[in-house]
Symmetry: C2
Subunit: 309 residues, 2 copies
């Protein structure tokens, strides 16, 4: 069983060992009601998903064997340490589930990156076919899901990189404009304060980034200004990432990636102008889209089951 906890919706489901999505259910994340209510909602979701369930046309009954739980923020194997979106600190994994199944807690974005590596866009890069003769193609990829927040799965030489304490990839909170707007994390000018789906929506007075995209397409001035600023912030962050880590490929996922060329085309225009002495990496939209997180939580669950054997 897998649960991917996003800032707006929680996706829960059953994921086969081969990555097949056998059952998917969405519930609203009660973020506005505070961290305790979110934790209780996750636990209730896990309990409901743990019941045997018949799926598919043949009506076969599936019984979950483990829980994979992907959450945003700073996460260790034992604790959800911090999330600006949820306002929680040091929540032990046990708080999220009351069922007697093995459970694995993971970072939503790094888990999604694992799923992309296993099933999605960029798996070709691991074997050297990036289409550019200056690339070693050893799997140097940034997976960048953009949703309520922004974090990156940093894939170096084909493996996810976690950092000294497992906190690598917090690209959503790098200061793109140091004197810029205040972010929910307490810092100033963070990428996520300009380019997360939630920031884009709220800066336009909309409920969702999809509404903003519709206004951008219609030529609405305020929406275009907000969108351009988001694209510029993303371009600056990707220029910085490229200069530091020289990736062969950046894969953009999450809800905002559903904007497709409205997002990718201006990014492909702007990024090279910020890199005067080197080529930009290739930019693609994730093939797994909004399901990457759930598939990644599924990988966590199967790992919990294996560790339990």
């Amino acid at each position: 069983m897998a649960v991917d906890v996003g800032g707006t919706t929680m996706k829960g489901g059953l994921v086969g060992r081969d990555g097949a999505l056998l059952y998917v259910e969405r519930r609203v994340t009660p973020r506005a009601e505070g961290p305790e209510r979110v934790i209780a909602a996750i636990s209730a979701f896990v309990t409901d998903l743990s019941r045997p369930r018949s799926v598919g046309l043949d009506g076969g009954v599936l019984e979950p064997v483990a829980v994979g739980l992907a959450v945003p923020g700073l996460v260790t194997a034992t604790h959800a340490v911090f999330s600006a979106a949820f306002g929680w600190r040091d929540v032990p994994v046990e708080a999220f589930t009351q069922v007697s199944l093995p459970v694995a807690l993971g970072h939503d974005v790094r888990s999604a990156g694992e799923a992309e590596l296993a099933y999605g866009t960029g798996s070709d890069v691991r074997t050297g076919s990036t289409g550019s003769d200056t690339r070693s193609g050893a799997g140097d990829v940034l997976y960048l899901p953009i949703g309520t927040g922004i974090a990156g799965a940093v894939v170096l030489s084909g493996s996810l990189y976690g950092g000294a304490a497992g906190w690598a990839g917090q690209i959503g909170h790098i200061p793109v404009w140091p004197d810029g707007v205040r972010c929910a994390c307490g810092q100033r000018g963070c990428l996520a304060a300009y380019a997360s789906a939630s920031a884009i929506a709220s800066r336009c007075g909309e409920d969702s980034a999809a509404d903003v995209v519709a206004r951008v397409t219609a030529g609405d001035a305020r929406a275009v200004a907000v969108w351009n600023e988001a694209v510029e912030a993303l371009s600056l962050a990707l220029a910085t990432y490229t200069l530091l880590l020289d990736p062969a490929l950046v894969v953009i996922g999450g809800g905002l990636s559903l904007a497709g060329d409205t997002l990718i085309a201006p990014l492909r225009d702007r990024l090279p102008t910020l890199l005067t002495f080197r080529h930009p990496p290739a930019l693609r939209v994730s093939a797994l889209g909004v399901h990457a997180g759930l598939l990644g939580a599924g990988l966590l669950g199967w790992r919990a089951q294996e560790d339990h054997l």
Copy 2:
């Protein structure tokens, strides 16, 4: 034999297989005279260093067996691809030497990082003794030599990371203030345009950053303003690096590190204020100082000799 080509001086010397510095000579880098003159000066230096030379009190004669050459900018094993400081593009390694010894070309900062890993500050981090219980201590270190330019040696899990095409670590050209001053590389607001030793000196009308440090110590208003801006730029870049890569340690080297506490103390004050939801990495001054590059070039030379056997 080792040559470390800096923007102001070239350091050449003989380095033993154990990292002992057996002979060191400095020459001015004729940077103002253009890239051809710099290349010719390097070649002449290599030729002079290749002659048998008696060193030490016992007058033993040393005969170099290989050439290790460390240069700044974008570098591959076969070409000095680009340097903003020198204005060269795609210089083949053969252009730098006319002697008939095996030669290895490398990036000055990554080579210096190799030397730091082999002999210097932070080698303890590889074995897990970082003094903090939240660190895995697997050798996640940024070596940041600050001289004429700024680049970083990105050490991840104990190994230098080069990126997809070997161009990782260009932290000197990340945009810390996107609307800031124009950098020699053609981009705007680069870290190096505020915090390299050469930028600090020229912004104060001095020949060297050491002169600026003296004025800072004396309380000169212009020097203090330039210095504070350099410290802020470095703090922003280190905050960004920390959020992306979660290092356990940052080691500052190069000429500017000779400023010691004048540099490190305000960095230690500012960096935590830019990281609201996580701890900053430890900050130290390099133990190898300005010799890290030469020792790194020595490692390159010994590698060339081994590859030649």
